[in-house]
Symmetry: C2
Subunit: 339 residues, 2 copies
Amino acid sequence: MLTIKDVARHAGVSVSTVSRVINQVENVSPVIRQKVQYSIKELGYIPNNAARSLVQRQTNAITVLLRNLHSSFFAELIRGMENGAFSSGRNVLFYSLGKDPAYRDQSIQFLTNGVSDAIILYGPLYTDQPIIEHLCAISFPFLLIENNFPTRQTNQFLVNNYEGACHAVEYLSVRGHQRIAYFMGDPNKKVNLDRFNGYTQAMSDRGLIIRDGYLSNIYNSSQAYQAAQKIMRMPAEFRPTAIFCCNDKIAAYAIMGITAMGFSVPKDISVMGFDNHKIPFDDYNGPRISCIQQPLYEMGRDSILAVTDILDGNIETPVVRTYDTTIAEYETVCEPGTP
Amino acid sequence: MLTIKDVARHAGVSVSTVSRVINQVENVSPVIRQKVQYSIKELGYIPNNAARSLVQRQTNAITVLLRNLHSSFFAELIRGMENGAFSSGRNVLFYSLGKDPAYRDQSIQFLTNGVSDAIILYGPLYTDQPIIEHLCAISFPFLLIENNFPTRQTNQFLVNNYEGACHAVEYLSVRGHQRIAYFMGDPNKKVNLDRFNGYTQAMSDRGLIIRDGYLSNIYNSSQAYQAAQKIMRMPAEFRPTAIFCCNDKIAAYAIMGITAMGFSVPKDISVMGFDNHKIPFDDYNGPRISCIQQPLYEMGRDSILAVTDILDGNIETPVVRTYDTTIAEYETVCEPGTP
DNA sequence: TTATGGTGATAAAACGTTTTCACATTTTTT
DNA sequence: AAAAAATGTGAAAACGTTTTATCACCATAA
């Protein structure tokens, strides 16, 4: 293996001088600098990262931790991060955290001890995780995305879920919907509560009434399927003309329930989702689901840049940002009564 | 920062003894071993990876290099790799290689010098790349997937593209198609040549004739669009009843060209692709494309396990494997003349 | 009793960098 | 012309591990 000593010998200078040339430090005369650079190229020398990290106590890498790197939902987020990685000049590693707790702990240990300088964690799935506590405990720099973690002041990017839900109701209402049902996800997750609150607030703001049977608690996909069918069994004059779902998965299963009964979306009922999963799920083959979407690309890009700034001390911490959602218009919403 | 020295002091033993306990080396009495393990837990000590890598000359990590980590095409591959990562016990990092050559070189330098022990590279995009040459030059362990690199003996997973194309022709032919056109991609890529050869061979094996105008060379999406329209302008009695496309992108644009003329796929003509991109492209909204698909999940999983074996010296190198394709039946093929 | 071997533990030398400190040398200031 | 400051360079000490060589100890065998 080629070391800095070889370069020093080859260039006829000391090791420290070579190091200074590599690290762009001042105080080295142009002549010597050139000589060293020549030797480096001539020998094809590349500094060893492990040695460098050891003494510098930093690795120049940021790790992005996702539950499923392969999920299509993350595609935009990752795309943004790739962009951020490029413009930050840092190395961004992606790591997929498994389900097994032991493996997960090992992974975290690995990443936080001489592999990366900071961690970005996309969160909804980790709410209850000791991982964050651990990162705090060892005071390792990290940034949470969409992970509500109220007990501490941490760097976090949030999404305005409340407003997003309001927009959905507004969007439907502007299109003539007055009877809008809501399919709510697990209320233990703050995300779901926020969206629910947005829905109720927007409904009352617009003077729309949440009637009996308009609200369903959904804990799994088959419940979404059944709840949708229950809605369709209501007499037409009371039946909602639209269902706003807490997320795209629920929306997908609701639509499957509806079409299984011979009804059509959006002709017989409009359905709106949240999240913009591009391919929601393997067994779903219906129309693309109109939904509220998070600005994942921007959040991904910004997260890398923010962490870079945090590491460089160029920004005040904690960094807390809230992102607004937008509406993705696809094929599952139309005006009620459209032939 | 907590070091091994602190543990040694706390346990009242030497540094080397602690190291031996950590690394599961023999020659340490049960009593002392327990004492040390207790101290480690008590203090919450975690060994520093940089220091460890430095002296051991290995990092215990494998890096997977992809061009676009966010591409839906890679989803299955990644899923397989995640699985492999878990069962191999090694840490698998994913890295997204940008388009900028300078950034790419920096990335490779980073990864190969004290960050990971091996690299897996999914290849079709790198055929002409100096990256591989560089990895060879520094004799860094790596495995190529779907990257034909004939000049050297390297670890590689290949896909039987030739047979895949044969299967496609067979599949179409069994469904009654006799006039089958072929849209070929850049013939400088071996992948495309293999598929083309499979097509011609299968055609002749089945006694099917490749008529004038049945073969198109496609270099970009608009060419696919236009070539498809040219096909549709042929008199119905000569016109192919099916087009087999070299990849899904070409298929998608072909279908767009066809439908733009008012024809319908597969009613008026069947189209078959290759690769199984789940969401091919943003401007495509047609039916899901029937195609030949690679066993990406298996290849992903196996690649991690193979590299693990290579690093551990448990397998003979070079590791060369060829995977067979399967047929993904979706919505763009039917029997000719189906109403 | 004295060699001989085998254990279990330690001290010290790596590993390849960066960085501090000291030391010339040169330039600037008085 | 002397003193002070600035500049460029190198020697050596870190950084936190693993690993090699060594040593002390005890049991066994001669």
